[in-house]
Symmetry: C5
Subunit: 365 residues, 5 copies
């Protein structure tokens, strides 16, 4: 319950009226206490606009008559009964309503004579590939939206346009509102992609500079996000393309020109997503190459230290042998040389330097 | 034989009647003893429904008249003679019947004027990519299904809908039943994919944490399953698309709208399968990267221990030389120093610490 | 010559008649001695069938009148003159005949008004990706086949169907025979793929269990075979699709329905070939991963042995130094301790155990 | 402001006139002081041509009447007000003007009855994959260009053609000018690709000869550039294809033939970009292979040095043991041999040579 | 100049006549001295054929009247003036002539009402992926070819066919000549591919047997050649497809059937090129795997030698310690054992054998 009511906070800054029309539905009000949910309604026309938060389907239905365009927005509704009330009140197709209740739909457009049903997915956060489903019914005088998640969405620009009357929106019909919403949804992907691009750049820097062990996991995570985004935007492109290409009674040709613009945006988004995908694939290769390079560095140092000390150690071993110099003048005469010790040390230093010179001549150090 | 009879257990909870119509086919009954197989028949219409388990094709044929929609389901039948009886009784096309007897068909739709023949593949288990073939004939008043394997299937939701009359199913024709079956088949992939997703997540965790030697085999096995699933779902999409796109006399436009919904589901399934495929490919890379990282860890420790001990060992070797201090004051005078031993030990410790400092300055330890 | 005659053995079990019609072509018979080649002719109709082995083009031409369908099969013919005789006798297009003489054609269908020319490739052996070219001319009353290689082919099922009259083949025209041949060719790929699948499974087992050096060469060889198969089956699909899709005067609609079935089979074959291709690509990765894993194993053991012995060796080196205990009580007093030797051995054992414990704590051994 | 004025330097060598028509817009002039921007106008016809630098939209509008073709070029304009003036003056579509103000558009063609709107991207520098957006409006008598960046562009060849009257350009309409601009944009990619090809060749040489650590970063950078170029040229191909394929009232068939030529050029560019992409992918593999080869070289030398010194060191250790030769004739009798020392040295040299011979027999050194 | 004259040697074995028609163009002759270039002209018809080497465009133009088919071949012409003469004389389209002068065109077909313009690329050498551009104009009575490079080409078979009258070529029109040239160009790829296939096979053998350091560079070079070939043949396929598919006034239906044959050949060539591409990609993996395997071999030997000598060296170190046996009976009593030395040697041998046994039990040696 609190979950459904919770979206009240999402409506911050909007009018919340005790509506007289609601008073007549007192018994509904009681039921509402159990099952509190709120309908964000915005009606507008060339003459003005009005925003209300309603709490019953019947109230929303009643509002339709007043303005030529009515935007009804429902957030995070999970109650099948309410969906059914909407179905009856707005004469929606059963399958479309069902699709709204299941939350992992792909973006698509479906034409049920009396209304168009459009599913889109909008990004949830700036910094992940997660998306939220937005089911939209476009009818003669209304656009009915069902958002999957409560809380903030990317449609505030649309609300602002209606309030301020920007872009002549109030003189257009419900199809233009539908375009405005789709446009807002599509444009909401750009900040996500910018954020992603930034993170990819950061990760690339990290890859080139460090060999933290968790990097391959991080690259994999990023790739999953890109794949997830990709899975969201490709069907969106197809859906918008359907809207642009096919003629629908509710979509004026003018609006279709605007939707063509959305199509260009989503095409650009797809270009970027595909590019990021290639880059993430690439990053794994670079990471492995970097790890390899660092290992080479370590192996090299080991080589140098080991190969520098091995010959002197051998020489020390030789002069540590216990051959008896007394039984033969050939038995380790160096041991009795006046500068024998210095000779041995010189031999050691010479071999070490020789090895070093060899390694340097090969450009290994 | 027992194999054919075995599917009786699959019919648990359904009515098993001694039918009067069967009594007249006593000679068949004798042959049946040898070749026991059972036909699950469900007839329904707006007025009611009836479920029976029949044991001859003739009986099934006879039942057709009573209800407007008849669902005849045959499991794991391998006997060509029975297929031939069905072919004659229901006027099926020879090629379609042949396809039912071979068990590795791809999903497809074929239009033989008097009936539609639809092959789909439904998942066998939750935790593998294996699928079972379901051949379906859609005729005027009947849907005739041949399942490849005996035992449970994913059609119980359809049976339940018929029994309970959910979704108005009893008021629709056989094409709606056909849709309901395809819908059930398609939706049966979702739990399989959920399970797969879980297993992929688990495997990813294992990959990131351990270097078990059998992991690459396991990734390969998972990839095979994904490939196998993929091979099942792509043709299914094409088949459903054919149903949605092409107009057939037995498929009403209403049902085609419902099938469009199936199409969306299968498109989503394909999205997921393709994503899982990418992830499994990726996992191999991560696994190799992890194995590499661990090897680097080991090599590093070896490097450290070896390079720390090599210089002191060399110093010990030097002072183990047997140069005679008596013949010259330059021959290893340290041996006779008062703090010679401490000097040597200090030298050893110093070189070790110097090496350690070098390694640490390179951030290798 | 012997090469051309050699296919007589390929006709084992078939009738070989001294034909009266051949007697009149005695001068041909002399030329035949130089250039012996044999034409396998099968004529049939609803009323019966006849099989003969002819040795001149003229004889084959003469046979056409007797039966409504005539199958003329020529194996491993390389002589351009004979091809030219066929060209004239059957009114074939020059380009099509040329294609028959060059043996690396892709599968295709070409419509020369008076006849259809179909090239397919059939598998040569069960255990390789090699294929043999089969050029086929479909005319009004005849199917004329040119096989590239002598010896066995995959068309025995067709011969059997004609002899036994299975599948009503004798009541159909030459287009049905053409379908039957294509069907036999397509189905001949299934055993090849089964064999391949088996070999892939075997190779996977070998890869997971051993590190034989020749495995990567073997995987490469298998991949080449898969690529070669792939190169054979993709054009075959296109060719069959052309037959199914385009209407030709010689192809009845009924036969086109049968060819649709062939198309499904070839689509399945392509699915499998593509899957095997992915698996072979994957196998190389797994092989490399396995080789890497084994190398890690070896490196680990080296690490353990080396790092266990290095510190004790150092300690032994310390107590092998020759510092003079007589000049100072600080010079290696351990040498004169009562349990000095045991102390040193204990030190050695302790450091080794400490290293082992360290390695075990890291789970490296 | 300075930013807008800055493009004056880009107009070097062109006429800069104080126009009388501007005098009447004195108040504009004041606003201009704040918001200085310049419009490069070129008008031409069969009879002559004229080039001016204007500083108001109104002035540009006025010029249209004089010549049949007018090219108006605006660089780096960011002021929405100016865009709006253009929109009103030239009757442009709001969406198209919006697209000009956002700088990351994909290349595209949009048909707004009264004008065609074409977005292309032209390369910024010779040595990077960066591109600059060029929005172009093709109207009845004008081509209106908005360049994203100030400074030099690739359109000087077009300017030269107009001045010199090459290629009969002055006898063609505005569509031919539009073609000439697109042609210049497309051809501007060739030097970029040549430069890129050179850099790829250089990088390949570097890869094959050195193991600099930053190479993988460099390859990655180059790949990003190629991807970025690719992202610019693919949509450009689609846009030009649209112009070639679809008939527009402003595009004569003759011009469409010329555009077909552009299409061939862009197709060639795409071929090259795709090839470079494959080569960059490949380079990473080669780089890793080279790094691996060099590591093998180092490991080999380590192997040789270590394995050559280990056995002699062991022998020296043996003869450094302190077994007492006095208690037994079996205790290290070599120590008292006359040639004991030489024997030991010979043994050491022999084992080293044996090891060397073994390594050489394996062809490792 | 000498460059243009140089192709005279390319015409070896052809007639070189001092033509009377040329005498009238004496002033041209003088200009010719500066700008010597030669036109290979072949005219033929059902009644005969004639071959000449002309030296002016006008002469070539004059020749057109005599024979129904005229083949004019110009090699390595770089002079824009001559191209312009051709343009005027043969009424060619400006764009097509421009394309001839730029040497990196993709294969294409362009229909300029009065003539077809066809660009193809023919292989330059047997052993590289380089190609030479061949621009071809197909007009009513002529085929005009511009070859990019002087020297030999792959069109000698066409010349031979005309001379000998093979394949009825003299009874066909210029479109058939055009087909014959395209056919010769396409077939010229087969020897190149055979050579490539041989080189790939050789390289594979080298890869499997040696670890030469330059192999990865060689594989990369081969891949570049394959990519370059691929870039030449794909557009060629499209161009031929255009000829086959679209009807052109100059291309008779009969010739289109012949071109279909060319299309099959080029499709086969593409199949092969794609296969070689996959194989070259694969070869890099195998090469790396081989290098890895050899490194494993080396590491193994190092492991064995090192681990065999380390424990004995340690033992020698132990008995080289200087603990004083006189102060305690526990201090290294072995030194005074009768068989102490043998005991130590036995210990060393035993540990070495134990290590060897361990390694062998793991199947590492």
């Amino acid at each position: 319950m609190g979950q459904l009511c919770g979206n009240l906070t999402g409506f911050t800054g909007r009018l919340m009226e005790a509506m007289s029309t609601e008073n007549s539905t007192a018994p509904d009000g009681i039921e509402k206490a159990d099952n509190c949910f709120l309908i964000e309604w915005t009606g507008y026309g060339p003459d003005g606009y009005e925003e209300l938060t309603l709490n019953s389907v019947a109230a929303a239905k009643e509002k339709l008559a007043k303005y030529p365009v009515n935007w009804i927005n429902v957030e995070a509704c999970k109650d099948p009964l309410i969906f059914d009330q909407f179905r009856v009140a707005f004469n929606l197709h059963e399958l479309a309503v069902e699709d709204c209740t299941t939350v992992h739909q792909r973006s698509k457009v479906e034409d049920y004579r009396s209304h168009l049903f459009i599913v889109t997915r909008m990004p949830l956060h700036m910094d992940s590939g997660e998306t939220e489903q937005l089911g939209m019914f476009l009818g003669d005088r209304f656009v009915l939206c069902f958002q999957d998640e409560e809380g903030g969405d990317c449609l505030d620009t649309v609300r602002e346009r209606i309030r301020k009357g920007y872009g002549d929106i109030r003189n257009h019909g419900s199809d233009y509102l539908c375009y405005a919403i789709i446009d807002a949804v599509v444009d909401a992907y750009f900040p996500v992609l910018n954020k992603l691009s930034e993170r990819i750049d950061n990760l690339e820097d990290v890859i080139l500079e460090s060999d933290r062990k968790d990097i391959s996991a991080e690259i994999h995570k990023m790739k999953r996000e890109v794949l997830s985004l990709r899975r969201a935007v490709w069907p969106l492109r197809d859906a918008i393309n359907t809207l642009v290409r096919d003629s629908h009674p509710f979509l004026s040709d003018t609006t279709r020109i605007y939707l063509r613009d959305c199509y260009d945006h989503i095409a650009r988004i797809i270009d970027l997503v595909e590019m990021y995908r290639e880059l993430t694939i690439d990053m794994m290769d670079i990471h492995l190459s970097m790890v390899n390079n660092r290992m080479n560095e370590i192996i090299k140092v080991l080589t140098v230290i080991t190969t520098i000390f091995i010959p002197p150690t051998f020489i020390a071993g030789v002069y540590g042998m216990n051959f008896n110099p007394e039984v033969s003048k050939f038995n380790m005469p160096e041991l009795n040389w006046f500068f024998g010790y210095f000779f041995a040390l010189a031999l050691m230093i010479f071999t070490s330097i020789a090895i070093l010179a060899l390694l340097r001549s090969k450009k290994w150090i």
